[in-house]
Amino acid sequence: MQQIINFILRNKTTLLYLFLLLVGMSLSIQSHSYHRARFFNSANWVSGSIYNTESNITDYFDLREENNKLVEENTKLRSLLFNDEVKEIASQELDSFTFQIIPAKIIKNSYSLRNNYITINKGSRDGLEQDMGVITSQGILGIVEHTTTKFAAVQSLLNTKSNINAKIKNTNNFGSLKWDTNRFDVVQLEDIPRMVPLNIGDTIVTGAMSSIFPENIPIGTIKKFDLTTSQSFYNIEVALFNDMTNIKQVYIIRNENAAEIRSLEEKISNDQ
């Protein structure tokens, strides 16, 4: 017994180090398993409010550019409105739509890591929940992963855990969108069968197989494609429409039917 105590006393620094190493390892393993409730992320109130304060100060620097983006988007929406036959859209009750849009601002962005997260200034008190889609005026951005009362952490497209249903525009050939961590302006589309005719420059949009995003939200264009080693599927490089390094204003998509769809899917998987 004496010897054990002596040993502990003699090596207490090493033991403390090993203990803390273990704590660190378990934290990182835990944070890497998908969908585990996680408290320690940049959406908690300390880091959230610090980032928010910083964003309040630095927002003024790119106001002009942000304004230009908004005007551009407004112009696009206006021209859609005038050229289409949906005259009564402005008078419709906004609450009756399936997809609700919640605007938010990015207060922290990263794109040079392997698993990138974005922190936004809206949280559960604004109606945000896990698994809601996040888009910008140019295209999709990611999926809400954690929310606190005032902030939310968004899993960016530039994240190895990201897996989004996508298809080639005007066809119904869908695959899954992933990221190989090499470049922050290119993502990969997998599982498109080889008989699908492809061209460089084709547009990739979100598919209908998801309760998170509505169909046909733009993602990017085909930059390069080749066959996988099994020769039956394409490996497609997609150049993103979004400039991931320079985004400020985002929209969160709340699908009113999401809960219903999800419970249905759960029922099916339970029956099997």
């Binding site: 180090y17 660190g24 990182s28 835990q30 992320n41 610090i50 990263s110 890591l113 392997r114 961590t181």
Partner: protein, 169 residues
């Protein structure tokens, strides 16, 4: 006097964390270089304090940075490892001198200080990027990140140490 040491270290902790998360994490120089200047805390921390406390504080430091940058526990692990290895590195760089009571970081030569800092940075970055990338498939990417980020961190750390070298007497 002892109070003063605590105060200085607490202030240093706070300022280094804020500088790291608000300024240096956003540099993205050439797309990926984000210097990690908070390692200066390990460099400046008094030598004669208890090692256990030092490792605990390093844990806290790494953890704070991790929470802010959503890289849970990579910074923490790298940081405590460097804190644990610090005496060994110091013995290697300064020789047996550093065991003496009268040893002070400011009394050593510039070259020794920079070597010490470089060891801390390279060790830290190697552990950090190994954990972050966590596969040897991207060996080239890994080496690129370690080498260039280390150079960036070292340059900035040397600049900052020479900027705040008022303690020299």
């Amino acid at each position: 006097m002892t109070n003063n040491v605590y105060l200085i270290n607490a202030l240093r902790f706070l300022l280094l964390v804020l500088a790291q998360v608000l300024v240096f994490n956003k540099l993205n120089f050439m797309g990926f270089i984000n210097p990690m200047i908070y390692i200066l805390f390990l460099y400046w921390y008094p030598i004669k304090q208890r090692r256990g406390v030092f490792i605990l504080i390093s844990f806290l430091l790494g953890f704070t940075i991790d929470v802010f940058s959503d890289t849970l526990a990579f910074h923490t692990i790298a940081c405590i490892t460097m804190a644990y290895l610090r005496p060994a590195i110091m013995r290697f760089v300064f020789g047996v001198n550093f065991e003496f009571q009268s040893f002070k970081l400011t009394n050593t030569t510039k070259a020794q200080q920079i070597t010490f800092l470089a060891f801390l940075i390279i060790g830290h970055h190697t552990i950090f990027f190994l954990l972050e990338i966590f596969s040897l498939d991207h060996l080239l990417l890994l080496l690129k990140k370690i080498v260039f980020t280390s150079i960036g961190s070292l340059l900035l750390c040397v600049l900052i140490t020479s900027l705040f070298s008022a303690e020299k007497e």
